[in-house]
């Protein structure tokens, strides 16, 4: 019996096409290694004002440095809170009614804090964009006249670069968003709005196309059942538009992440964009390696964001057999 099982397993193993496995796992590794080798050999030949272009090894070292910086900063924060607690305890011991101030540690944002800031900003910008784009997309998809009215605006604003929006957004936010104790920093609002303005369009267009492309037969079903507007949208229109909608959302999130880095550079939002900009201005011997590292991290995060949307799509889409890639 077990022998039979073993032969069965062996047969299965034999059935696997090793050539295909090799191609699908080994080739990506070879590709990456070749790139690193090329980088490694080419880098010393590029002489910049900040020394030679960094090799992969130096870039990787910077990762260690940034982790160290983060740990040091964490230690400083811990020490700060410890001191504050001790001081407050002493104060309370002397006078139970004493007024205590709890202050937050105000250290330098490290690389990892900047990653967090960037993620929060891009996701809030993307969220604002989606909240506007999906309903508008549904409406203009359902109504041809409305589509005709809005389409010129979409076509006009879609190609506008984030760098063109930024000065405008900055000035408007500075004028409008005035408060004594602002909940969010201005730079955050400016980056968020710029991201939203640029990433709005793909979701809007794709949702509209998806909604307009609902099969005529299903619309006839809806007409015969005399479904109400809301039921029609929820039961017929939205499910059939979901694949297109997610295509739009994916493109939008990709754009949002690209735009964010540029927006952060100029608005000085303490995220990855500012990190790159600061290193550029800093011009130390480590700067180039750090910028390279930031680029790799930005790319990796962009990739992960895309995967997350894909997972979300497989989860929400009714058609589990649909191939998403």
């Amino acid at each position: 019996m077990s022998n039979k099982l073993a032969t069965l397993k062996f047969e299965q193993l034999k059935a696997i096409k090793w050539r295909d496995v090799l191609i699908s796992t080994l080739m990506p590794v070879i590709g990456v290694l070749a790139f690193i080798l090329l980088w490694h050999t080419a880098a010393p030949n590029i002489n910049t004002s900040l020394g030679d272009f960094p090799q992969p090894k130096q870039v990787f070292e910077q990762w260690g440095n940034l982790v160290d910086e983060y740990n040091t900063e964490q230690d400083r924060a811990d020490a700060f809170y410890e001191r504050q607690e001790k001081r407050n305890a002493e104060l309370l011991a002397q006078d139970p009614a004493a007024k205590i101030d709890e202050r937050e540690f105000n250290g330098r944002p490290t690389f990892f804090d900047k990653i967090e800031t960037s993620l929060v900003t891009v996701l809030s910008g993307f969220f604002v964009a989606s909240v506007i784009a999906i309903p508008v997309g549904i409406l203009i998809g359902l109504s041809q006249p409305l589509y005709n009215a809005i389409n010129p605006l979409i076509q006009l604003f879609k190609p506008v670069s984030p760098l063109a929006w930024l000065p405008l957004v900055t000035i408007v936010v500075s004028a409008v968003y005035v408060s004594d104790s602002p909940m969010f920093s201005k730079s955050y609002i400016i980056s968020l709005l710029t991201v939203s303005l640029c990433s709005l369009w793909p979701t809007m267009i794709n949702t509209a196309v998806g909604v307009a492309g609902v099969s005529k037969d299903l619309i006839n079903v809806s007409r015969v059942l005399r479904l109400g507007w809301f039921t029609h949208v929820m039961k017929i229109v939205l499910p059939s538009a979901i694949p297109m909608m997610f295509t739009g959302l994916r493109i939008s999130l990709g754009i949002a992440w690209m735009v964010l880095i540029a927006a952060e550079m100029l608005s000085q939002n303490p995220g990855l964009g500012k990190f790159v900009w600061d290193e550029f201005q800093n011009g130390s011997s480590d700067s180039l390696s750090r910028i390279c590292l930031a680029i790799l991290v930005i790319g990796l995060i962009g990739f992960l964001l895309d995967r997350i949307i894909l997972i979300l799509q497989t989860y929400i889409n009714w058609d589990k057999s649909a191939v998403v890639r």
Binding site: S215, D217, L218, N220, V221, R223, V224, L225, R226, L227, T231, K235, I236, P239, S240, W318, D319, S321
Partner: protein
């Protein structure tokens, strides 16, 4: 005598085309009694589906009109449920949910939740789909999908059941099964049915009357054939029945002699030479 239930009077329809209006139907007159099973048969493109869509309210007749129970039909509604040719189930809903969509619409406030559930299950049972009640259309075969489509229509308790070539896309065996099921249901419920078909056997087997349509453009009712065969009908027994074969050949004669569509290549060529200058015929709407 049962009275007239559904009446089409001088129904005509024109579709706008770039070459001017195209008249698909002209002067279609038809009176249908309650509980009657009527088939519409004709060559493809003769406007059978157009007639059905006008009765369904999906198209608006240009001239004439449709009256159901003394009221004019001018928009779609669940009292004229349609079984579509390609089933048209919502792919994201299970069989149960697909039927539920119509039931909720029709019986809102008339049935309790439990009653609705029972009713939906009852209808799926009628079409023998109890075993796959919670499966989605992509997990069902073509015949099963069409069964669900019929259940969805039946569950709305329509006054008229409209079927647009309901079995056209199925293989012969599945089709025979579904025809038997449909006859069974029809015996039980006594629905008024209008069915489009291009299958002569199907028409004779199922119908009380067969409405044969002339070829378009400007198609209309050519002949109406009564089929007073006793019910329940059995396809095997009828195969050798002289009466059945007589009806069958009557329909065939109409389709292939009086309304000959397929011309010999020579005749076509000659015709082409004749009216070379004439613009090509506008594609008729099926």
């Amino acid at each position: 005598m049962s009275q007239i239930h559904l009446e089409l009077t001088k129904v005509g329809i024109e579709f706008p085309t770039p070459k001017g209006p195209f008249c698909a139907l002209r002067d279609v007159d038809l009176k249908i009694k309650k509980g009657e099973f009527v088939s519409l048969i004709g060559h493809s493109g003769c406007g059978k589906s157009t007639v059905l869509n006008i009765v369904a309210g999906l198209y608006q007749a240009t001239t004439g009109g449709v009256v159901l129970n003394g009221r004019e039909v001018n928009e779609p509604g669940p009292e004229r449920a349609v079984v579509f040719q390609n089933h048209s189930l919502l792919p994201w809903l299970t069989a149960y949910e697909n039927v539920e969509l119509g039931v909720k619409r029709v019986f809102k406030g008339k049935k309790t939740k439990a009653e609705m559930r029972e009713w939906i299950e009852h209808n799926l049972e009628l079409v023998h789909m109890t075993h796959a009640i919670h499966k989605r259309p992509d997990e069902l075969s073509g015949g099963m999908k069409q069964r669900v489509g019929i259940a969805r229509a039946l569950a709305m308790e329509p006054q008229v059941l409209l079927m647009d070539e309901p079995f056209g896309a199925l293989d012969a065996l599945t089709r025979a099964h579904l025809q038997d099921s449909l006859m069974e249901i029809q015996n039980d419920l006594g629905n008024t049915v209008i069915m489009i078909t291009h299958d002569v056997d199907e028409a004779v087997l199922l119908s009380d009357r067969i409405v044969m349509m002339t070829n378009g453009p400007a198609a209309t009712v050519g002949e109406i054939l009564d089929v007073p065969l006793a019910r329940p009908r059995n396809r095997l027994e009828l195969a050798d029945n002289a009466e059945y074969n007589h009806y069958r050949s009557a329909v065939l004669r109409f389709l292939y002699e009086k309304q000959k569509k397929i011309e010999s290549i020579d005749a076509k060529r000659a015709e082409k030479q004749l009216d070379k200058s004439e613009p090509e015929k506008t594609k008729s709407v099926a």
